[in-house]
């Protein structure tokens, strides 16, 4: 990162929080409006990647250690499997909706879809930023 300007630095730092919020919105409203875990996760990851490009990988690593991303990736994979197996335990089949549905209101009605969206969003955000951080790290 040789040609760094203050404009890039400031803009990235101002922009990244909005990207995180927008990503979170996409993930959490995935069951109601266009969006979902994959899309929202990628938006969150692009916020992290923006910081990594504008500042440096080390700066991001100071904020959140890379190992934590790896742990998040593994944990969410485990939780996804656990949700799937939960369906088997409940007798409805692998990856079946065993949580049930709530009423339309302030809380999400499609709890199962909502839970999966959150898990996938976390997994994609962690995974996509992990790949990029490792590849950026390789360049140094």
């Amino acid at each position: 990162m040789r040609h760094k300007t203050d404009i890039l630095d400031v803009a990235a730092r101002k922009l990244a929080p909005y990207m995180f919020v927008f990503g979170l919105y996409l993930v959490t409203y995935g069951d109601l409006s266009p969006g979902g875990g994959f899309q929202g996760g990628v938006v969150i990851a692009s916020g992290i990647i923006l910081l990594a490009i504008a500042k440096s990988v080390d700066a991001v690593e100071e904020l959140i250690p890379l190992r934590r991303f790896a742990v998040a990736e593994t944990t969410t994979f485990g939780l996804l499997l656990a949700v799937g197996i939960g369906g088997i335990v409940a007798g409805a089949g692998f990856l079946a909706d065993f949580i049930g549905r709530g009423a339309i209101g302030p809380l999400p009605a499609a709890r199962f879809v909502y839970a999966l969206n959150i898990l996938i969003g976390a997994k994609v955000a962690a995974g996509a930023s992990l790949i990029c951080m490792h590849l950026f790290g390789e360049e140094r």
Binding site: D31, S33, G36, F77, A110, V113, G127, L135
Partner: protein, 92 residues
Amino acid sequence: MKRAVEIAAAAVVAVFLILALAGDHPTESPIREYIVAHGVDDTGAVNLVASIYLGYRAFDTLGETIVLLIAVSGVMFLVKRSKPPADRDGDL
């Protein structure tokens, strides 16, 4: 000569794609009708795309997340260990 062969190959693929895509195709799909009619009731998700990929076809989605997981761990594994392992048992 080489160029001519390559252009011919590209032409073959193009003709294949055009022929495969040409023609009339049915527009009705029983599955789509079912999902439009029952999707919200079945899964509770108002967004029908979510009801498909996290409801009816959640298994495919799990598969796709696993694809991502392998990609991540593959990159981590191959990038991290730039040092060759100690016992390479005489492979090239």
